[in-house]
């Protein structure tokens, strides 16, 4: 494992900051201060582990809506995320045109996500094709939920990547549910990684609550991709610890006991334990980072709340590239 103590603590910090930001979003929704939130709680270890295995800012990323922690690893700030939650002007993903968590961050090579699931995996394959055509050594990483692998577009994206031996990694974040549907209603194989054998690329399943294991398998996939050996399909197993979104009520389809059971494997706690075992993290350090995170979230919230809304007329542009000011 080539991760320094500094890097590991940075990864922990990213995970912690994403978690506290995410929790604050739920609180804001309960207080009626925001209209919508969709959460990454439970999947952050997989996201941070994966993000640190690529060359952030150099490689390209097509994330999905739960990838808040991945986005923060790529440089998205709590303030920027909260601008999105509140639909404020200058929100970096879409200028507040899209719902929260429909990520895009040009400065970090993160391409725009929309709502229809799996559509973006094809874009990721296309970016990888462009990279290959230009003979560059960048790679692309794209994530999706396990249920969404039932979409034909996902299959077609992986098929393209496998046929053309593209530098891309498909990460499936298997959080056990697609809104209310368990994985058995989405596929007849035990793991979405099993789909790899039918498409002609390597498939790996990894414990998505273990940040370091995820880092390792993604790193292996990254070097394969970068050296021209082609794509890899990785399933990171985790559990969605929250309802699907702020519009969902998960009590209709799963028991509290089941959810509580999985809270034992909360990736934040798991990561804490690991780093404590490695003596990288002390109780004192944990508390220090904790209060630092809370302060950062408080500040982001205050700043976002003070930020203006877009002008109504902003909605008129840019329909066509010719209208883009900075382009």
């Amino acid at each position: 494992m080539d991760l320094s103590k500094e890097t590991l603590l940075e990864m922990y910090w990213t995970l912690l900051l994403a978690r506290r930001t995410d929790e604050r979003a739920w609180a804001l929704h309960r207080q009626g201060k925001i209209a919508f939130h969709i959460s990454g709680i439970g999947q952050e270890a997989a996201q941070v582990g994966a993000a640190y295995a690529i060359k952030r800012g150099y490689d390209w990323v097509a994330p999905y809506y739960r990838d808040l922690a991945m986005m923060m690893a790529l440089g998205l700030t709590p303030y920027e995320f909260m601008l999105g939650l509140m639909g404020k002007k200058g929100e970096p993903s879409s200028g507040a045109r899209q719902m929260p968590s429909h990520f895009s961050l040009k400065r970090a090579n993160v391409v725009s996500l929309s709502s229809p699931v799996a559509s973006h995996n094809l874009h990721a394959a296309g970016i990888a094709l462009g990279i290959k055509m230009r003979g560059e050594d960048r790679i692309v990483i794209t994530s999706i939920g396990e249920g969404s692998t039932a979409q034909g577009e996902w299959y077609e994206a992986v098929n393209w990547a496998a046929i053309h031996c593209l530098p891309i990694i498909f990460i499936v974040q298997n959080n056990s549910y697609a809104i209310s549907e368990p994985i058995q209603k989405q596929m007849a194989v035990p793991s979405s990684a099993d789909k790899a054998c039918g498409l002609g690329l390597p498939g790996v399943t990894v414990d998505g609550t273990d940040m370091l294991k995820v880092y390792e398998v993604v790193q292996t996939a990254v070097s394969r991709a970068r050296s021209g050996e082609g794509p890899t399909l990785i399933e990171a197993r985790a559990y969605r610890l929250t309802p699907h979104s702020s519009d969902d009520d998960d009590r209709s389809y799963r028991s509290r006991e089941e959810v509580d059971e999985h809270k034992k494997d909360d990736p934040l706690l798991v990561t804490q334990r690991t780093l404590q075992a490695q003596k990288y993290l002390t109780k004192a350090k944990i508390d220090e980072l904790e209060s630092k995170a809370i302060a950062a979230v408080d500040q982001a919230l205050a700043d976002a709340a003070a930020a203006p809304y877009p002008e109504p007329a902003d909605a008129a542009f840019p329909v066509y590239a010719e209208e883009v000011q900075h382009a």
Binding site: A150, A178, S180, F317
Partner: protein
Amino acid sequence: MPEMTLVDAVRLALDEELERDPNVFVVGEDVGKRGGVFRATVGLIDKYGAERVIDSPLSEASIVGVGIGAAIYGMRPVCEIQFSDFIYPAFNQIINQAAKMCYRSGGEWTVPMVIRAPYGGGIGGGLYHSQSVEAFFTNTPGLKVVVPSNPYDAKGLLKSAVRDPNPVLFFEPKKGYRLIKGEVPEGEYTVPIGQAKVSREGADLSVFAYGMMHYYCLEAAGTLAGEGINVEVVDLRTLYPVDRQTILASVRKTGKALVVYEANLTGGYGAEIAASIAEGAFTDLDAPVRRLAGPDVPAMPYSHPLQDWFMLNPEKIAAAMRDLAAY
């Protein structure tokens, strides 16, 4: 007569039809235990079982394509597309398959199925949870396209749709699911597909609308009545086939026509209504046929000031009515 919401009327229609005909079944994402994300199928799985209330994999093409096969076999599938914005993956199945099966087989195979989809904006859904997609389907012979504007019609039209021997697209105004209430008689009744309805008589101008916009048009017509302008409002209800008779009869009476729809103006459904009036009632027209619709930007943005800029409302509609009345 009990008063109920539009979504309750939808559920009641499904319940009664499942009860009536063992061939009827419901299929879609999260329609089972979850009861659908808008609760339109709540309780049905407990009453009719998981075999007749099927949680589908996350792939719209399969929901519709499998539905077509089942319909060919003699079943009566009622497919749910979670949001109309996600109907495009099923487009090939709807346009090339469902719509053309009867004709292409010389009538040997028919497709008695319903495709339900909540549509429309003003609910903070952004680009991909606000779309009004009817115009993509109202140019395709073989399909029937229905949009109810109130609970009574929602129940009566949906029951007709389930019994119809053809594929029927049933678009439900989701903003009105709980907002629009109305009396629904106990027990059995249906509302015929194919007939528009004069929902308010008036002599000064005719306004044509459907779904949520019809609800707003009635409100606006009420406002104008206070100003001494008598607006005739026609609820189109069935968008395809077009009930030109009812439409032209109204224009012959008032001499002025305004078509209101919330989708993008250019190429929207209102274009066909305006064109039909321009050709069929030329000598009766005292003013140009006007259209009031959404602006020609890709879709409805999320942030409230932007959404309000895009979305029609009773005030904007009243202004357009005044304007035309004054011509």
